[in-house]
Symmetry: none
Subunit: 152 residues, 2 copies
DNA sequence: TCTAGAAAGGTCAAATAAAGTCAGTGTAAG
DNA sequence: CTTACACTGACTTTATTTGACCTTTCTAGA
């Protein structure tokens, strides 16, 4: 064991215990561990996914960075379950509305947020042929729930 | 880390909180931040667009200036205006993000709602080929803003 | 009045500074 | 010996920053 990817993971997770959000520079980190920059992407892709409870955002160009966000997992587990097991890769409007109203009843989202999400997944909004529409709807709902998870 | 453009943006926005119109001199501002004057134009072009809710006027020659005007959306029909006239039928991610950050800055939507909307219009969420993606994005944003309008 | 600076700001392409992708190679556990 | 995981490098994409050159406006002197 104890390969590079694990070391980098370890290093980042130590910092993430201090604060729920950290920012690193890919080239810096790669230099510190003496590896190729793309190795950092590999670590992100395999260890800091939403399934693992993390979100990664980044920016290119001058002043670029990689930001890792540790998701709050307290009542996050329910949302997690929703995102990764209940919502498949296709979703009908009725199913989506069902999930949304459940979230509202559980007070995880406000009425306005529910209205917003409903509008987004409504079939009039996503004017695509099936099955593309149902695929996109699943994607939309998943992304929006992750956004909630991130900003709570 | 923090780049110059972001610093300049923040500096100007602080002043814009005091008053809805400010005037600066390009060369002065560039000198203060130790950068090329054209950097100021870059900041105007990327951060103070109409989508972001700002107008920029300027005048050359002796006594020249750059004037930044913060538009506000106190009038209820401003959202209406946004939906029916400003947002066209295609929208790039940058334009959409501009509108969203304007809505947030003007306290019409919360941070969470902004995050939700950003997630929905993000290019990773709408995985379609252009120009379909830009059409759908315009549709999505319009529908979500209408939802906000209806539920407030 | 006319005109030549001087004093602004504008434009655009190139340079620079990041990060992302992907196909392919290496490696170690079973 | 094969398969999954780790790792790399060449190439791509995006964002920022600068500098050379252009346009507009004002002002002072002829």
């Amino acid at each position: 064991m104890a390969n590079l990817a694990d070391d980098i993971e370890q290093y980042l997770k130590e910092h993430l215990q201090q604060s729920p959000v950290i920012e690193v520079q890919r080239a810096m980190l790669a230099a510190r561990f003496g590896c190729a920059p793309s190795q950092i992407n590999y670590v992100m892709a395999t260890r800091f996914t939403p399934e693992h409870g993390y979100l990664v955002e980044s920016r290119r160009g001058g002043g670029g960075y990689i930001r890792i966000i540790r998701l709050n997992m307290e009542r996050g587990d329910a949302l997690h379950e929703l995102v990764y097991h209940e919502i498949g890769d296709q979703l009908s409007q009725e199913e989506a509305f069902g999930y949304i109203s459940r979230l509202r009843e559980q007070k995880i989202i406000s009425d306005r947020e529910a209205a917003l999400m409903q509008a987004a997944v409504h079939r009039e909004t996503i004017r695509l042929e099936l099955p593309a529409r149902d695929f996109l709807r699943a994607h939309l709902l998943r992304s929006m729930i992750l956004a909630i998870l991130r900003s709570s």
